[in-house]
């Protein structure tokens, strides 16, 4: 009987040798005359174990990882094609605690299925949400999204249902659905994983948005740094057209929805929604003034549903299982689950989807296993380059939008970057300003000029030139950027800077009270 062996096609797995491992397994099986079918699945998100090879056995799928090409003959010697023990064996993958402890709604299929197989997608619950939405009125569909409590997962956490309702209620001859797949935050890769490992769920979520609000054309604005995701999306969209999910007659409903992929061009600012729209229109990615909001006047001046990949990918299960099912996860005003990305200096990095309320302590130690370097974890940055640095004393704060806002931090897109005790926080603060200077669109002065002055001021603090006065200037500058910038880039760059300064003053040559020592 042919043994089914799974080797992920996710670009993270490929980046550490999955393609070569897949080929080595096929070659070795041929050499030994063992009938094997190598299936390129998505990644389970246990990225420290990649390439994670899974073997289908009567007792379920058994995992081995991380596998190198050199391990392959030894795995065959050990009988891994029958799920036999080996030092790399992690046992049945579904029961592996790191995975079993998660609440996977968005990522239910990732790693389980062949991402480009429509029949497997359907067999694992796909398309049921879209069918349910097609049976509803637009108003009821939008109400379901509102009831679910879903908030924008790109970082701003705006209630998705309210946004959709605005689009539904705005009369226009053409409306659009735009997906923000410009996942530029360091430490985030959940969008990429959806697009590579379960792209149909994004397509389905966008189609539901179109059906619910009356938009007939969708665009995915994908960053140019994600060529693997682009190939996966293009293939999935072609399949979706051929099975009638996209096109003039969505699943036989007579409703129309068409979808296109547009590639960004390496500008971080295009993750900001209005700048993204400018870019989609073929212009420089300059931030627009709001109002009007994109839901009223968005792409080409038309009402536009503009959401992040994870927001759209959360939609199908809300329609499949019901709004209440989804909102029963989470706490306070943060409902549902968040795909959290553990990254940087972490032993067991990857994708952890959990209901809101999990703490950094659980994530960093129970899931993450501590730092990769084996040194103490000193700080983490949550929410990308505009997120605050959080000290160990706050690792027990529950991860939810309001709890984080109350400590001057933000959940953002759910990326967590871990730093050990060798990190120099003055350098990280300087980097935050430098990054803002590189990526500023240049439209507003606080961001364009402030970021460059910020780098210079931090340099003077590091060098110890008139620290007291420079500190006052930095604080003033940060306040100006915070309140005077047009968008979150200039408006939030002060968060990493000021949090680094507040929690780690010694790295800036200051006393523990944050004051410059008397000269």
């Amino acid at each position: 009987m042919t043994v089914r062996i799974f080797v992920p096609r996710d670009s993270s797995a490929v980046s550490v040798g999955a393609d070569a491992v897949a080929k080595a397994i096929a070659d070795e099986a041929t050499r030994r005359a063992i009938p094997v079918a190598v299936i390129r699945n998505g990644s389970r998100g246990m990225l420290w174990l990649e390439p994670l090879v899974e073997v289908e056995t009567p007792a379920g799928r058994v995992g081995y990882g991380p596998v190198t090409v050199a391990d392959v003959p030894k795995l065959f010697d050990a009988g891994f094609d029958r799920g036999a023990p080996h030092p790399l064996c992690i046992g049945p993958v579904d029961a592996y605690p790191w995975l079993a402890k998660q609440e996977r709604l968005c990522f239910a299929r990732a790693g389980v299925t062949d991402p480009l197989s429509w029949s497997e997608y359907v067999a694992h619950g796909g398309s049921r949400g879209l069918r349910a939405a097609l049976a509803m009125t637009g108003a009821d569909a939008v109400a379901a999204v509102t009831e679910s409590g879903l908030r924008g997962r790109g970082g701003a956490a705006f209630p998705t249902g309210i946004k959709w309702k605005t689009v539904l209620d705005t009369a226009a001859d053409q409306k659009y659905v735009v997906c923000n797949a410009d996942e530029g935050d360091s430490g985030t890769f959940s969008d990429r994983m959806v697009m590579e490992d379960d792209p149909f769920v994004l397509i389905e979520g966008m189609a539901i948005a179109g059906i619910a609000t009356g938009a007939t054309v969708g665009y995915i604005y994908l960053r140019s740094e994600y060529p693997y995701a682009e190939r996966a999306l293009m293939a999935a969209i072609e399949t979706a057209r051929s099975v009638g999910v996209l096109g003039d007659d969505v699943l036989g409903s007579g409703r129309r929805f068409e979808l296109h992929v547009r590639r960004g061009a390496g500008a971080y600012i295009c993750g900001e929604e209005t700048s993204l729209l400018e870019s989609l229109e073929g212009k420089r990615g300059m931030v627009r003034f709001k109002p009007p909001v994109p839901a009223i006047s968005g792409l080409f001046g038309k009402p536009t549903v503009l959401n992040n990949v994870i927001t759209f990918a959360s939609i199908p299960i809300i329609f499949d299982r019901g709004a209440t099912f989804y909102r029963d996860y989470g706490r306070g005003r943060s409902r549902g689950t968040l795909p959290i990305q553990l990254a940087g200096n972490i032993k067991q990095g990857g994708l952890v989807e959990k209901a809101f309320g999990v703490t950094l302590n659980e994530l960093l130690y129970d899931f993450g296993g501590g730092s990769a370097s084996g040194r103490p974890i000193r700080t983490v940055q949550v929410g990308g380059p505009l997120g605050a640095y959080i000290p160990e004393s706050q690792f027990d704060v529950p991860l939810d939008y309001e709890a984080y806002a109350s400590i001057g931090a933000m959940v953002g897109h759910g990326g967590i970057v871990v730093f050990d005790d060798t990190v120099d926080m003055a350098r990280m603060a300087r980097y935050a300003m430098e990054f803002c200077a590189i990526e500023s669109c240049g439209k507003c002065t606080p961001c364009r000029i402030g970021s460059t002055r910020g780098v210079e001021t931090i340099d003077r603090i590091i060098e110890g030139r008139d620290r007291g006065a420079q500190l006052a200037i930095l604080e003033d500058l940060c306040n100006t950027m915070l309140s005077g910038s047009l968008c979150a880039l200039g408006g939030m760059t002060p968060f990493p800077v000021m949090s680094a300064l507040k929690h780690f003053p010694q790295d800036f040559g200051l006393g523990p009270d944050g004051l410059a020592a008397a000269a």
Binding site: L47, F189, G264, F300, Q341, S373, F419, Y431
Partner: protein, 166 residues
């Protein structure tokens, strides 16, 4: 710009000009084909889209991705964002500068390798990450980097021989 290049630019322009918001897809089509957007192509693009040359130039120069000069035969993009920094990206940057003798946005004198900074490749749990000619690499060490550079050189020698035979 050579005659054949101009022809390929015109083909890309014709293919993309009727798309809504056509300029970025057009620039991508040209750069995917030629490796860069030749400054001589700007008037053709501008005319097709009824834009001024300044507007087209403004878009090309706004986006980090677009190049106005041909890159080296190989492009190494190294991630400089926080997650990669937390686990040694700066050491990789130092190694690349030392081995290649160039800085970011530079190309080696023999035209073999261009070095680019990139801010996140989405491989943050397998950091540090680099992208070599569009292929993503993770858990990159200085030794792996040396291998990448040496392989690039080897491939070039091979291409050189093949080119000579032609």
């Amino acid at each position: 710009m050579q005659e054949t290049q101009l022809q390929r630019v015109q083909e890309a322009v014709a293919r993309c000009r009727d798309l809504p918001g056509a300029l970025l897809p057009m620039l991508h089509a040209i750069q995917d084909d030629l490796g860069y957007v030749p400054p001589e192509a700007v008037p053709t693009i501008a005319k097709a889209l009824a834009l001024s040359r300044a507007e087209v130039h403004g878009v090309i120069s706004f986006y980090h991705h677009f190049r106005s000069a041909p890159p080296g035969r190989h492009v190494i993009q190294v991630c400089r964002a926080e997650a990669c920094q937390s686990i040694g990206a700066e050491r990789l940057v130092a190694r690349l500068r030392e081995r290649l003798g160039i800085d970011f946005h530079g190309t080696t004198a023999d035209g073999a390798v261009s070095l680019e900074a990139v801010y996140c490749l989405g491989n943050c749990a397998c950091a540090p990450a680099v992208m070599v000619d569009g292929a993503l690499r993770g858990r990159v060490t200085e030794a792996v980097l040396d291998e990448i550079i040496d392989t690039a050189a080897l491939v070039d020698e091979h291409v050189g021989v093949a080119g000579g035979a032609r």
